[in-house]
Point group: C2
Chain length 180, copies 2
């Protein structure tokens, strides 16, 4: 599936530049028939992890974009501690991914739209800023939310058209109205 | 490090039998210098995933026992949906692992002691039974808690003795008093 995104040019500020890469990852997921979510991890202005959702391809419930990018970044740094790193992701992380960000001691999280069905960074939970846990993450939410939302809406609209089941559920786990 | 566990014999009921295997995984982690947590996934009375914490060995913040076992079980079933499966784990899962259990649609979770520092199935959160999410898990908590707790206590006591830093923090991420 081709994305209808008008992806911003690369001469924007750093956050926009890296979120644009995350959007390209999301577009790659859509092309593979996966729910289009992309993630990028940056350390010292260099991308050390970039991935898209591969749950269906890998038949793996843990294969969210964020998890794959975290494992890549940890391999690059030869450390499970991702201090000094920023994650860019095109949708608010779920509980699994938010928990992983805390475990990884990531410094900063920049994400697109909130996920009303499973978001765990502000919507259903705020795992990345829970003082009871041993690490908190600096968060920028709603960043470039519109293009991130559009790629999801386009994906689910195309899927609904194909399956003729407009009543289907949403979120990352269904065919529906993620973040409409 | 050798565990001081008196592991129950295998002629107990099924839950005890499978938790015993999880305890053996935890003991294997301790021998590798990893925080001793083990997990087993069972489908139709057969073990289809068994793993221990490998965060240090793999330098991967996501390499908790539960996550590795989930990926193994999904590979066995060639599906990210682990309907009909039970997970046995020697400590209350954290937010990452609890979130993954929901994403995997696992039927049942049996765990040992609560984790006061990071537990997300009753202690800090109850992610596995949150009606706002699209799946809930049947939970048995505190199962064979004593041997599960002892293996952690022995590990941290040995580590404290070695490092001479009795004031260190605890949880899965430090050298301290997990679930004392």
């Amino acid at each position: 599936m081709k994305s209808q995104l008008d992806i911003p040019a690369l001469n924007l500020n750093d956050d926009a530049r890296f979120m644009t890469v995350a959007l390209r990852e999301a577009a790659a997921a859509a092309e593979d028939g996966e729910i289009p979510i992309g993630a990028v991890i940056v350390y010292k202005a260099k991308i050390i992890g970039r991935a898209h959702n591969q749950r269906e391809r890998l038949s793996d419930p843990t294969a969210h974009a964020e998890m794959i990018a975290l494992t890549q970044a940890a391999a690059y740094l030869s450390s499970w501690r991702l201090c000094g790193c920023t994650m860019y992701v095109t949708l608010e992380p779920c509980a699994m991914c938010a928990g992983a960000l805390v475990l990884a001691r990531i410094d900063r999280l920049v994400y697109g739209p909130a996920d009303p069905k499973a978001g765990a960074c502000e919507t259903l939970y705020n795992i990345v800023n829970d003082k009871r846990l041993n690490h908190q993450v600096e968060v920028v939410s709603g960043f470039m939310a519109q293009p991130c939302r559009e790629i999801l809406q386009d994906f689910f609209a195309a899927k609904r058209q194909k399956t003729q089941k407009p009543e289907d559920g949403g979120g990352r786990d269904g065919v529906g109205n993620v973040c409409l």
